[in-house]
Subunit: 368 residues, 2 copies
């Protein structure tokens, strides 16, 4: 005879996301509005929210949907946008950012989301979560609108560090592949290495060396290496993951955002130009909304820090409720897929023979 | 009493542009169509056209506007798009590209235009025209659509070389300023140095060193230095000239082109989506044409090689008649302003005290 316990339908484990309420350009109200939106869409999500208790209590009380689903953690200090990472590393204890990372460190939450100062967030994450064994430089991965069926490509590093040698670039390829498998559900992602040309003789010495290392690592690590790609290929459908050093990646990302913004402004002006174009604007409204949703940076909001013991999602500093909600969605998805554990296992299996700097032969087994 | 000679209206000297007819993706027909278009718009322009005599004769004969305004120079060889620059440097004699550069070298033409292989064109230009005294690395400058009143910003280097130290970056600033004065008619251009952040402590060591060198050079060289700028600032109105190493600049340029292309494709799809949006597309036609003209890469076609004894304009390999004509227009403008001579004078006056690697105090006098 089955006991009562056996008969009970098991409650699916709720995913807990640790959220830094402070440090974004729009303040904690936007963050609370964002997580409320996520809570309404997704019944399986819970939050630990970090910041000044009194401020957060008032904001959360206004959102019924957050009742019993959002735990508050008092933290008085705020990391400002102009704070130097080195200073925050030494004196950041007691800030909401520190506290938010701490919840991932101690296992209460699976992923941390913050829209604060990127440099400080990376510095604190490095100090508190520590790098994965075998990883030399963590990286920030972001999503790009693309022509691929899923609508997005992954690019890394977009700004964790300003340099990367060939071994770092290989690790970026491994981490990017793992992220694409778990975040975009691509079983065998295609990896490209960003360069100024696709010919093998082009580019800097470390790129040529990385080209060879990544090509060798591809078969055992369940990704396809498409070789060098150029800036114009980042949104293309011939690649899923674009690997780059953090300096170039950051410039490319900000350049693309700048151009997209310029075009969207010019488009608005064009629609206002004449009475005829104003009528056109009304008729095209739905189509335009669909387009702007596709290329809206808020919809792909969330750089993911890869290579640490735990996952941190960095949302845009200027993120509004839509942006925060997109970052939370990404955090949830990564948490559900067990991304942190899979990435750690993948890196461990791939990089142990790498220690001698020569070869990668580890079998990946069934690690996703 | 005035003599007859005094009374005669002097004929303005016609500007001669040397054009490589071969090596572009669309072949010599597109090139001839492009120069015919320029000839129709501009009565003061003449051409020396380089390529296989019989092919060119037939193409030019079809364009009445080119009668007596286009001299042919037979050159049998063609530099292909996949030719290695080092090979072309050794064996390029007898190609249309070589011949086109030769016309600038021997003074028959003021500017050379080619839509062939960029690496080969730079290599041949370096060998035949030689670097300006005082210049270590030549650079390719291109125009970006921007929010500035003139509609364009200058960026360099976008791919002449893959590296640049602080002294190279200073030279890029001087050359970019000179180009903006002569090509965009900005008396006191604002120069920005591309980095991953605007704070002075950010970025690579050579960028910090270049920051200081350029700041010191600004007052004596009639430009304003706005400090570090980010990728998003490239099309902004807070800067006129963006200085970067050629690797980063090339990636940024191609990334921007890729994003602009993606958005324009998505825009077309959006307009086709429903009967309503198709009507909207018709009504918005004129406004959209204006917009697409503004961001059409063909309209800003022409990377300019700076730092050589003579000016070379590199047109896109895929340029059609519109693109070629835009490149010719730029070449004409630079020729009219006496850009090559002004740049040489400017570099000579600024870099002679630079030789000792310490200071730049040269007075620019009335050199534009």
């Amino acid at each position: 005879m089955a006991s009562k316990t056996d008969l009970a339908i098991p409650t699916p484990p709720r995913t807990v996301i640790s959220v830094d309420a402070m440090g974004g350009d729009r303040g904690p109200a936007a963050v609370v509005a964002g997580i409320a939106r996520s809570a309404a869409k997704n019944p399986d999500i819970r939050f630990i929210l970090h910041g000044p208790q009194d401020v957060l209590e008032r904001l959360v009380a206004k959102r019924k949907i957050l009742t019993d689903r959002c735990e508050l953690r008092h933290a008085e200090g705020v990391v400002t946008m102009d704070a130097k990472p080195s200073h925050v590393m030494r004196h950041g204890k007691g800030t909401s950012m520190w506290s938010a990372i701490e919840s991932v460190r101690n296992g209460e939450a699976t992923v941390c989301v913050s829209c604060g100062n990127t440099g400080a967030l990376m510095a604190l994450s490095m100090v508190r979560l520590r790098k994965l064994p075998g990883i030399n430089r963590p990286a920030i991965a972001c999503l790009w609108p693309s022509r691929n069926p899923g609508g997005f490509n992954v690019m890394l590093d977009v700004g964790a560090d300003i340099r990367a040698d060939e071994h770092d670039l290989l690790q970026f390829a491994l981490m990017g592949a793992s992220y694409a498998r778990n975040g975009l559900d691509l079983p065998r992602p295609r990896i490209g290495l960003l360069n100024v040309g696709t010919e093998e003789h082009k580019g800097r010495a470390e790129l040529k060396a990385a080209h060879d290392l990544i090509a060798v690592a591809a078969p055992a690590n369940d990704f396809e290496f498409v070789g060098f790609v150029e800036g114009g290929d980042i949104p293309s459908d011939k690649v899923d993951v674009i690997v780059s050093d953090g300096f170039t990646g950051n410039v490319a990302l900000k350049t693309a955002e700048g151009i997209a913004k310029l075009i969207s402004e010019l488009l608005k002006e064009a629609f206002k130009f004449s009475p005829l174009s104003r009528v056109a604007a009304m008729l095209a409204y739905t189509s335009m909304r669909r387009l702007s949703k596709r290329i809206d940076p808020r919809q792909v909001n969330g750089g993911v820090f890869l290579g640490l013991n735990g996952t941190v999602v960095k949302s845009h500093g200027s993120a509004d409720a839509t942006g925060i909600s997109a970052a939370v969605k990404l955090a949830f998805q990564l948490s559900q897929s067990g991304f942190s554990e899979r990435l750690a296992a993948r890196v461990a299996s791939a990089t142990s023979p790498l220690q001698d700097g020569r070869k990668i032969e580890a079998k990946s087994g069934n690690i996703k």
